[in-house]
């Protein structure tokens, strides 16, 4: 079995190997981050998790028009056609305006 000794490597070669390992680790971190971002984009939560400032308009997405009270059937409580859920919940969140 052939043995390879690092002790025989000169300092420059050892340093070059250390640098390669370092670059590899950093690129691994970058790649992981890219996958996180791509997943966030494709699953539709990029602007929630990654874009802390600005709004959906920054990405060319038209904000949902705020039409006031929600008219979805589930939002109208039975026996109380006039009263929906809490008024605050009926309005679109600021990021959609």
């Amino acid at each position: 079995m052939e043995e390879i000794s690092l002790a025989n490597l000169d300092t420059n070669k050892l340093e070059a190997i250390a640098q390669e390992i370092y670059v590899d680790l950093i690129e691994d971190s970058c790649l992981g981050f890219c996958f996180e971002v791509h997943r966030a984009v494709k699953c539709g939560y990029f602007y929630l998790e990654f874009a802390e400032t600005g709004s959906v308009k920054d990405f060319g997405i038209q904000p949902v028009e705020d039409k006031g009270a929600c008219r979805l059937p589930l939002c109208s409580l039975p026996g109380e056609p006039e009263n929906g859920p809490d008024q605050q919940l009926q309005r679109s969140p600021p990021e959609f305006q």
């Binding site: 390879i4 070669k13 050892l14 190997i17 670059v23 690129e27 971190s29 890219c34 791509h38 600005g54």
Partner: protein, 98 residues
């Protein structure tokens, strides 16, 4: 495979076998978070996605744009510390066998 390539392959194998590679990654992750590296990359990501379009962005686009920036944004202190630990690993792992 020449001797240099053999050496590199053997070192990489040792890094993985000993769990040191994972160890270095776990060390790096919180350091990059606390030094706002991730936050800076998020800002850059936003610009890239605005340019390419949310619907059209691909992994390749992100990797091509983000990786060089990510490499450049690593603070010197983090780089120094990680390199030192790698050098320590290399000097301790003096004998490798094939």
């Amino acid at each position: 495979m020449n001797k240099d390539a053999q050496m590199r392959a053997a070192i990489n194998q040792k890094l993985i076998e000993t769990g040191k590679r994972e160890c270095f990654k776990e060390l790096l992750r919180p350091k990059l978070t606390e030094c706002v590296w991730k936050d800076q990359l998020k800002v850059h990501c936003k610009e890239v996605i605005k340019e390419k379009g949310l619907e059209h962005i691909t992994v390749d686009d992100l990797v091509a744009e983000i990786t060089p920036k990510g490499r450049a944004l690593v603070p010197d202190s983090v780089k120094k510390e990680l390199l030192q630990r790698i050098r320590t690993f290399l000097t301790r792992a003096r004998w490798l066998s094939l």
